[in-house]
């Protein structure tokens, strides 16, 4: 779309705004040229973003299928036979999350609907195990989707038993040659397995194995052990047709997928821009750093959804003045992508809280992962304060308690659930210091986090710990931030030898808290 025909009223402000936002624009460019090109690229950019958004966010049939041609043909043939010949069938599509089960099915259904012999000849019933949580709800939904309820007139739908008998009767009446085939799609199939007696599954499979209305049951699940969950009678009635989706591609194909997912289609209005963009994508795919990023992601998961997420993050960096993706964008996105959530939380902690965490860490090492309570942590903290009194303000106990409470709320520390044998021992040892024990109990009940009877004041540290001696250097180097906090430096100098790297792993520093964890940089 060239800007010639475009009414500029809507666009003009945008194009005017752009230069203002970007004051660093080279002054060599004359104003008119700038205006024109920016307007033009703004149009293109919004187009690109729209295309990418649709591609990555909608898991619709429009997306391409990768590496599942065989499964596609199998499923298509199966459904075609159902519709054309009226053959009953049942099949399961099994594959890990994000492996394209729904995409495959949607693809097949879309293609099927376009076929001439099939059109209007297939009733579809879509159920989802997360929505239809029991057979009663599922039956109602089936009746609704088959539009059978209007036959019953204004009668409010009867009991579950009536419903079932009604539906079975309806299905029994049909036969292969005259009734319209019905496709049942059971998403999250594994959840249907937990319904009482597996009544729904038994009946669906039974119909698919008897001379009634032609029915095809397609289940989608990510559980590999799904067949073991079926009751023996249900299992016998299931045809054992399983379509496995495994992300079986290697890295080369992964790169190809990456290129395909990013490149613009031929029908993009501005050909020159599309050309430029596609060249850039080609370029990127050969770039070492990009390949490293992709390799890293590929090693973690072959799931295409996470690739989409990565590209989505990277793609959002594209603006008028940054019209093409760069390797840095991808790197940045990858960094976002792999942030450690707990580390992020630790970033936001105050000095006192960090000190407490370190104290807990000590305790953890001393007692080898045994649960501890607040008093122990407080004592440890006091010891530290006494040794380094000059650098640390001595907080009051209630303040420390407050900080501890905060850590609990952040779920960095988790109250112990059930008094195990070990906890009992702990509790006994606490009985020598009844006051402290009582205060812990009181506080615990105040926080409503622990019930006095079940907690005995013991808690687990929820921050990962490693044995100090063996631990390799796993912390990625963090770019030092600009501001240096003296307190932070202190902590670093004092505690880092003890503090294991795994406590906090701030990879990117998105959520910059009060402290930039320079102290983690050492060791």
């Amino acid at each position: 779309m060239r800007p010639t025909a475009r009414p500029s009223s809507a666009r003009a402000p945008a194009s005017l705004r752009e230069p203002r936002i970007q004051p660093m624009k080279p002054s060599a460019m004359n104003k008119r040229k700038l205006k024109e090109s920016s307007a033009e690229s703004a149009e293109n950019i919004s187009q690109v973003q729209k295309i990418l958004r649709e591609r990555f966010c909608h898991h619709c049939a429009a997306g391409k299928l990768f590496g599942m041609e065989q499964q596609y043909r199998h499923l298509l043939e199966l459904l075609k036979r159902t519709t054309v010949h009226g053959e009953s069938n049942s099949a399961l599509i099994i594959g890990p999350r994000g492996s394209g089960k729904t995409a495959l099915l949607n693809h097949v259904l879309k293609d099927l609907r376009e076929m001439k012999q099939v059109r209007e000849n297939l009733l579809e019933v879509h159920l989802n195990g997360l929505l239809q949580t029991n057979d009663k709800v599922a039956l109602k939904e089936i009746t609704r989707q088959l539009q059978l309820e209007n036959v019953v007139g204004d009668k409010v739908f009867g009991s579950f038993a009536e419903n079932l008998a009604f539906l079975l009767e309806a299905l029994r009446k049909g036969d292969r040659t005259s009734s319209c085939p019905i496709l049942f799609v059971l998403d999250e199939f594994d959840l249907f397995v937990h319904h009482k007696n597996q009544t729904l599954l038994y009946n669906l499979f039974d119909i698919s194995q008897s001379a009634q209305t032609p029915v095809t049951v397609i289940g989608l699940t990510c559980r590999q052990d799904i067949l073991e969950l079926l009751e023996k009678r249900v299992k016998s009635r299931f045809s054992h047709r399983q379509i496995y989706l495994t992300n079986s591609f290697d890295f080369k194909q992964y790169i190809k997928i990456f290129k395909k997912q990013l490149s613009l289609p031929d029908e993009f209005p501005d050909e020159s821009f599309a050309q430029k963009w596609n060249n850039n994508v080609q370029h990127l795919s050969e770039d070492k750093t990009v390949q490293a990023v992709l390799q890293n992601l590929f090693h973690h998961t072959k799931d295409l959804r996470s690739l989409h997420l990565l590209l989505m993050l990277a793609g959002s960096a594209v603006t008028v003045h940054h019209p093409l993706l760069t390797a840095a964008d991808l790197q940045e996105a990858s960094r976002h992508h792999s942030t450690d959530s707990k580390a992020n939380i630790v970033h936001g902690l105050s000095v006192l809280e960090i000190c407490l965490i370190i104290a807990m860490k000590h305790l953890n090492e001393v007692y080898d992962g045994e649960p501890f309570n607040f008093q122990m942590v407080y004592n440890e903290f006091q010891k530290f304060i006494q040794r380094k009194a000059h650098s640390m303000y001595n907080f009051e106990k209630p303040v420390v308690m407050k900080a501890f409470e905060h850590l609990l709320q952040l779920e960095l520390v988790q109250p112990l659930e059930r008094p195990s044998a070990a906890v009992q021992r702990e509790a006994n040892s606490q009985s020598t210091r009844p006051m402290a024990y009582m205060s812990i109990l009181r506080n615990a009940s105040l926080w409503k986090l622990m019930a006095p009877s079940s907690t005995s004041g013991a808690m687990y540290l929820r921050v990962p710990t490693c044995k100090g001696t063996k631990t390799p250097k796993v912390v990625p180097r963090v770019i030092p931030s600009t501001g240096t906090n003296p307190a932070c430096c202190h902590i670093k100098s004092l505690l880092c030898p003890r503090l294991n790297a795994t406590v906090v792993v701030p990879a990117l520093g998105i959520n910059l808290g009060s402290f930039i964890p320079q102290f983690l940089n050492s060791n």
């Binding site: 054309v84 010949h85 009226g86 053959e87 009953s88 099994i94 890990p96 999350r97 012999q117 209007e120 000849n121 009733l123 057979d135 088959l146 036959v151 019953v152 009668k155 009991s159 038993a161 079932l164 009604f166 292969r176 040659t177 005259s178 009734s179 319209c180 009544t199 038994y202 039974d206 194995q209 009634q212 209305t213 559980r223 590999q224 052990d225 023996k232 009678r233 299992k235 016998s236 009635r237 054992h240 495994t246 590929f298 090693h299 973690h300 998961t301 942030t339 988790q414 687990y460 929820r462 990962p464 710990t465 490693c466 044995k467 063996k470 390799p472 990625p476 795994t502 792993v505 990879a507």
Partner: protein, 861 residues
Amino acid sequence: MNTRQQSKLIYSWYGKPLNSDRKLRTSQYTGILITSESTKTEACIQLGDFILVEGVNADQPYVAQLMDLYEDGAQHKRAVVQWFCRLEEIPQNKRKLLKREISAQEVFFDQVLGYDTDIAAETIIKSIMVLPLHLGEELPIITLNREQTFYVRQSWDGKCFKVLSPDTFSKLKEANKKRGVITNSSKAFIPSDILTPVKRETGSVVRSATKSKNPDMEIESKHSTSKSSLAKERHSQRVANNDIKTPTARKKLELNSPTRSKSRLLGCEVLGLLDDDCDSIAPLEPSATKRKVKFPSEILGSPPKIPCSNDKSKSTIETAEERQRFSETMQFSPYTKVKDFSEKDKNLHEKDDILSLVGYQKPSSQIPVLTPRSRRTCAQKTSALIAEQISMLDQEDFQSGSDSSYSSNSEEEEDDDMPCTPEKKPKSSRIFSTPKSSRKSAVHTPAKTPKKTPLQGTPRTPRTPRTPRNATPEIPRRIQAAQEPASVLEEARLRLHVSAIPESLPCREEEFQDIYNFVESKLIDGTGGCMYISGVPGTGKTATVHEVIRCLQQAAENEELPPFQFVEINGMKLTDPHQAYVQILEFLTGQKVTATHAAVLLAKLFSTPGPKRKTTVLIVDELDLLWTRKQNVMYNLFDWPTQKHSKLIILAIANTMDLPERIMMNRVASRLGLTRMSFQPYTYKQLQQIVSSRLKGVKAFEEDAVQLVSRKVAALSGDARRCLDICRRATEICEFARQKRTPEIVRMAHVTEAIDEMFSSPYVNAIRNASLHEQIFLKAILAEFRRAGIEEATVQQIYHHYVALCRVEGLQSPTVSEIMAICSRLGACRLLLVEASNKYLHMRVRLNLSQDDVMYALREE
């Protein structure tokens, strides 16, 4: 329904024994008197009358003509009847022989030999009308009381329909005439709608007892008033005698009474009968309206009758008035004609006949006009007008009308399927019949209308907006015709589908014969029994049993065996074990009731002898799902066949051979008996035979390929379904593989591929296709397991190994979040079993497959 008022019915002989056989100690009678205790009404049914007889389905009593009445040696009252059958009683497949539409009111003269025509007299409900019609004749238009009248055009002898022989026709006609019914009267005025107190102590009017309420019919009394006084005297004597007998009769009734619907039904039917007997509707208010003074004082002994005597005086006052009114009625009706008939009919029973015609009446505070008594005569005169009003009211107030009518015949409710409380009904009826509310009592009269025999599925009352029972929806038709198989492979696939019904079931001949013999012998003996059939899934249990039933049905059709009903329930298709009752009852009688009620009805059904009872063959599939904690469903199921009259044969199917011993209580297991049969899993030869028998005439498979499949399946499960599924899949693979249009048959390679597809473990493949870090994680798990010696570890422990492994591989070690993501991904696939994720690093992890498998899968790479 169960809560409905239960009126006790007393059956007593009418008249003296005609002749008695001393040796057999039987005596014959000409009529039977049915007295309802609660409503103080009596009805008399005589030989030749048409009656309704209690049937399996309370909604659909059987229609019959009373041929003989006798008391047998054991003092049981028996009746011999000529059956008529309704359309519903004729097998579905024979109905099309009729080639015409049948109205609900049409019945067939039954000439089927198998039915027992000797029934217990207590099963008689009331009398009705059956009109013979010629084949071409249109049904007379009936607007009211249509359910009281049936038509017969053809006879049914179990095989075909025949036109009524002139002889039968005339006999039927005669029987009707005798009852004083003139069919063609079109009089708008309906005497039956007027309360005509007929009987008095002093000199009651003797009236036609069997008058039809059909509005289109002229209702007529047979007897002249002159005769009446004579008749009355005798009658009162008889009545007295009869009443003395009451206790025994009542006892009998009480035996029946637990089955509430029927006894209730009887009660109301009697009331209906009474209404028939009089020209008017008897208001139901027991005390106020009691005019039943005919009983001598001995009757006073029975408590409910006390009010009669109290009212005596009152009633006598009214006598004259009543009589006057009655004579008017007589004038309205072309009674002379009827009289002629009866005159002609001077048969042996004439006298008794006359006596029987005495109407028992509870008169008349409720004349439709509802005016004070003095106005009654006026009301009579304007009765035609009233009748019109009535019919209008009838429409408007049908509900209240029927309510009040329930008092006289509460069987109405039954077919309405209305859950009515018993206490409520009588109450309401009483209210309605009190003269206080003029409109209601006016309505009361037309309320007679609903006194038709309940017919299934006729939504008559406006308050039953229920779905008609048979409104099962259908799946829409397909728009394009299904393609027929075009190639050999497609043909083969069609035949190999489990749903395809083979001509015969190969390899189950022995089992078939055993089951067949069992059921056949029980059928012939007319007894009941249980058989327990077990076997792993896919061994042809249900198929064999169905095949047996099919053969038996064929035999029954050819009259080699007595006819039987076939009912099937499936534990898996029930939402609750108790629903089994509902389904069985619905199959048997078409009634839809609640589970508890159905249980009661079924128990009654199977424990009492019924006329026209056919043997029932009940298949209980997936028996183990009918298990409840108290096991009452199973207990009942297996208890019924042991009842003397049940004629119930149960074939119970389940998977486990020792189910009776394992889950059943002793009392259940012992009732199930020891007739057991176990279906062994198919051997490979049998499987081979099954496949090849299905493929007969279609050259689609290599011999060896079939054998391979059969051996494979036989080794694994012996499930025929699996075998067929694999073969079917193999044809697909074959079709898929062939590129050119050359005809191809399924070879070993295809079959092998299909088998691999179905039986290969998905785990190994899943692990091989997992991402690198996922594989490392699995390795870390193995390492931790080996270190700790326990097959369970927390993520934290695994993490140490994981980090070490990453260093070995030269990879950047991932963050904890990533580890958790990997762990939950593997957990979602169920390669790992993981705890709830809120434990984070302390989450315990286990492998869902053996360590060897994991190692095997990882080593390959």
